[in-house]
Assembly symmetry: C2
DNA sequence: ATAACATATGAACGATTGCTCATATGTTCA
DNA sequence: TGAACATATGAGCAATCGTTCATATGTTAT
C-alpha cells in the first residue's frame, strides 16, 4: 500500500471513535436501512399503533411486522405497551424523527 | 387480519410519503448501515483523503475501499477529485455529518 | 377449561451484501 | 512507448437479511 501518510493517519486515528461505537452506529443505521421498517416508523410518526393495524396498513403479514418490530425495539427505536390482547407500538424518542428527517432532506434536495 | 382500523388507516395512508420515496430513504440509510462505510465517513469528517490513505487507516485492501467509495458516491454522500494519479474523496455535504451526529446521540445517551 | 383473538418466535429459504482476487483503466515519468 | 503507481471494476463466494410458514404465548370472555 501506497504513498506516505503516516503523519496524517496518526491524527485521524486519534480522532476516530472507538471501533465498538462505530460498529454500534452501523448497526443502528442498518435498522433504518429497510423500506418496511421505514414505513413502520413513518406510520408511528404521529401516534401509536397496534401490530395488526400496521400489518393492515402495509399489506403485510402480522408475522413479518412482528419480526421487524422486534428489531426496532432491540435498537430502542420503538417502545410498546400492552392493552388486553393488543400491543401498541410507538416511536421511542425524537431521534428517530430527526434521523429520518435528515435523510429525507438529503434525498429531496 | 384483525380488528377494525379503517378510519385510522385512511388518515395515515394519506400522510405517508410515496412508496418510491420511502424506498429511496431506506436505500440511503442502508449505506450508513455498514461499519466500513461509517469509518470512511468518519475519516473524511475533517478533511478529504485519498483512497490509499483510507485503506491504510482502516487496514483494508484498496479494492474493498474503492468498492465502498463507489457506493458512497452513488448515494451522493461523498464526492471526489483527481490530482494526478491520486483521487481524493470528501464528504458531499453537511447532511452526512448531521445524520451521523443524530445516530451518535441516539446510541450514547 | 376452552375457544377466539392478538402477538411473538424459531426454522428455513431465497435474495442481497461485502469482501477477495484478478485484471482493467488512468496518470506520470523516464 | 513502457514501467510504475493509484484507482476502478467484474465475478465469485461466504455471510447476513427479510420474508413465510407453522406454531407457541398471552389475554379475554363464555
Amino acid at each position: 500500500m501506497a504513498h506516505n501518510h503516516e503523519a496524517l493517519l496518526k491524527n485521524i486515528k486519534a480522532d476516530m471513535p472507538a471501533d465498538e461505537l462505530l460498529q454500534d452506529l452501523g448497526d443502528l443505521f442498518k435498522i433504518f436501512g429497510d423500506t418496511t421498517r421505514i414505513k413502520i416508523m413513518y406510520a408511528l410518526y404521529e401516534d401509536e399503533m397496534c401490530v395488526c393495524a400496521i400489518a393492515d396498513l402495509l399489506s403485510m403479514t402480522q408475522s413479518a411486522i412482528s419480526h421487524q418490530l422486534k428489531a426496532l425495539k432491540a435498537a430502542n427505536l420503538v417502545s410498546s405497551r400492552r392493552e388486553g390482547k393488543t400491543v401498541y407500538y410507538r416511536l421511542a424518542d425524537e431521534h428517530v424523527k430527526s434521523i429520518i428527517a435528515q435523510g429525507y432532506e438529503h434525498i429531496t434536495e
